[in-house]
Amino acid sequence: MTLIQKPRTIRPKRNARDTGSKVAAYLTLTVMCFFTFIPFYFMFIFGTWDKSEIYTLPPHVVPGPDLVGNYSVLMEKINFWRSFWNSLYIAVISTVLTVFFCALGGFAFAMYEFKFKNLLFSLVQGSLLIPSLMGIIPFYLIMQAIGWVGEPKALYIPGIANAIGIFLMRQYIGSAIPKELVEAARIDGCSEIRIFWSVVFPLLGPATATLALTTFIGQWNNIVGPLIVLKDRDAFTLPLALRSLQGTSTVETGAMMVGVCIAVIPLLIVFAFTSRNLIAGLAAGAVKG
């Protein structure tokens, strides 16, 4: 084994042109990052100025003194923390259930041979072909029919065993978990659900993380679902509550920006710690899918 050596990489000579293109590359990326973050910067700045100070000439580019004032206006206008809690509640429950049921489905498709397996899996994939817009009217009708309009469960139950999650889990389980492991557990007398829960599930760390993050982010930012089924202001999620600020006759821009800040920052913090896993997970899904 050791005798076979990889051919040594031929390194191009470092020259001025190479250094030049490197500098250009870093400069371009920095400019792109600038345009990526400039909306966040102004979100923060606007949040610290009174609404009468936001459209001044020239625009403010440093923080102002009105953050506290804007915060209290925000509290007056909408039930902000209630909405924050609603969003968190829906996102967390959704994440936990989605990870469990998608892992279960992915486990079955990756580890078992059973009748109609291929047909069933094609159906899972086929469900992805339905454009999401097609769903909005039927979604409302079914929720109305079963009396779930206004209920948070209307937002998290339908998606807990979704095609993308099952697909991701099937890919990961198929490539990372040896079939012998499952067979050994079976010989030791484990029931099938026990094999899943005690043997396989603990090994799904990276895939679980990716699916949990995408589910949480998707629910936290979801607007279409809540817009259609949540009617009562007390049930509003954050995006809905923030949007309702827009409709008022005098738009409280500063307060709105404080609200947007508080809604955006938790995800930014989570992302700061998990970006490697999230990006790697999404990339792996794309290459294999």
Partner: protein, 319 residues
């Protein structure tokens, strides 16, 4: 006799549980998907197909539903706003879709080939918009692009004041969120801002699957970096490009949130920001014509299906 009977009972018992649960397990494990899909996906979808052939006021219950044949489809066909929103959807899909990939492919290539230090930092930073809520960015953009003295209009005004190149920039404030020419541009800018980083990640993943040896061989043969990009990178990126373009296409055809938050209830001058999604939502939930909207959504489905097939054909024909 006695012993045989006992052993049969024991055999039967073991057969019943251990084997049964082993055979049934995969079906039970995949059943949540099918249960939920039938209840929340398939059944409502078929119901909306039925609904599209009826006249029905949602508020007055199922008993008032009556079949009227293809009337809803004819009405949709004769509705100028349907064609207008269809056109808007295509226009905005192109305006926001093409630049995403034109930016993402070279950027991913540059990150892959030239950037060593802070590689993950740049990728992650450019990915941040993807995890940001559409409502949040759209609200920020309404302030930045305000027709009063929004930051963008002020920046343009100060550019206009410059000597020489000042003439290139308009003197008056642009009514970004009203004017029929600028509304699609602002919507597209938000979409480009939000999804380019995601595409960069996809293309980076694709680039990493291209074997390094190919580039080394090309270098030995004296290929320049541009030639390597043209003749190695681009052709080998096709599978991932197909995936990324398909995602963009589907996402852009279903565009709803961005126009909904940015241009609100009127959708700008001449409804220039009215996408198919926005019109469907408005018809069904603001005007209460769910029956007509159902017909519209099925007509739109046919269009989406056709475009998806064309997209598949385009990528396959170049193989």
């Amino acid at each position: 006799m006695q012993t045989v009977k006992i052993s049969r009972i024991v055999r039967k018992k073991t057969f019943n549980w251990t084997n049964f649960q082993r055979v049934a397990a995969p079906y039970i494990f995949v059943s949540p998907f099918f249960l939920l899909f039938i209840v929340f996906g398939l059944f409502p979808l078929l119901f909306s197909l039925y609904l599209s052939f009826t006249r029905w006021d949602i508020a007055s219950g199922l008993s008032t539903m009556r079949l009227i044949g293809v009337q809803n489809y004819l009405d949709t066909w004769n509705d100028p706003l349907f064609w207008k929103s269809l056109w808007n959807t295509f226009y905005i899909a192109l305006l926001s879709g093409v630049p995403q990939h034109l930016i993402a492919i070279p950027t991913a290539y540059v990150i892959h080939t030239l950037v060593r230090r802070m590689k993950h930092f740049f990728t992650a930073a450019l990915f941040v918009p993807f995890i940001t809520s559409t409502v949040a960015i759209a609200l920020i953009v309404t302030v930045l692009f305000s027709e009063r003295q929004g930051v963008v209009n002020q920046a343009i005004a100060s550019l206009h004041a410059l000597p020489l190149i000042g003439g290139l920039f308009p003197a008056e404030n642009i009514r970004w969120l009203f004017d029929k020419n600028s509304v699609p541009v602002v919507i597209s800018l938000v979409v480009i801002w939000k999804y380019t980083g995601y595409n960069i990640v996809l293309y980076l993943a694709g680039l990493q699957t291209i074997p390094q040896e190919l580039y080394e061989a090309a270098q030995v043969d004296g290929a320049t970096r541009t030639q390597q990009f043209r003749f190695i990178t681009l052709p080998l990126l096709r599978p991932i490009a197909f995936y990324a373009v398909t995602l963009s296409l589907i996402g852009n055809l279903n565009l709803f949130e961005e126009p909904f938050i940015l241009v609100g209830t009127q959708y700008g001058q001449n409804q220039a920001g009215m996408t198919m999604g926005a019109y469907l939502y408005k018809s069904a939930f603001e005007l209460g014509f769910a029956d007509q909207a159902a017909a519209m959504s099925w007509m739109f489905f046919v269009v989406v299906l056709a475009l998806t097939l064309i997209n598949n054909r385009l990528f396959r024909s170049r193989e």
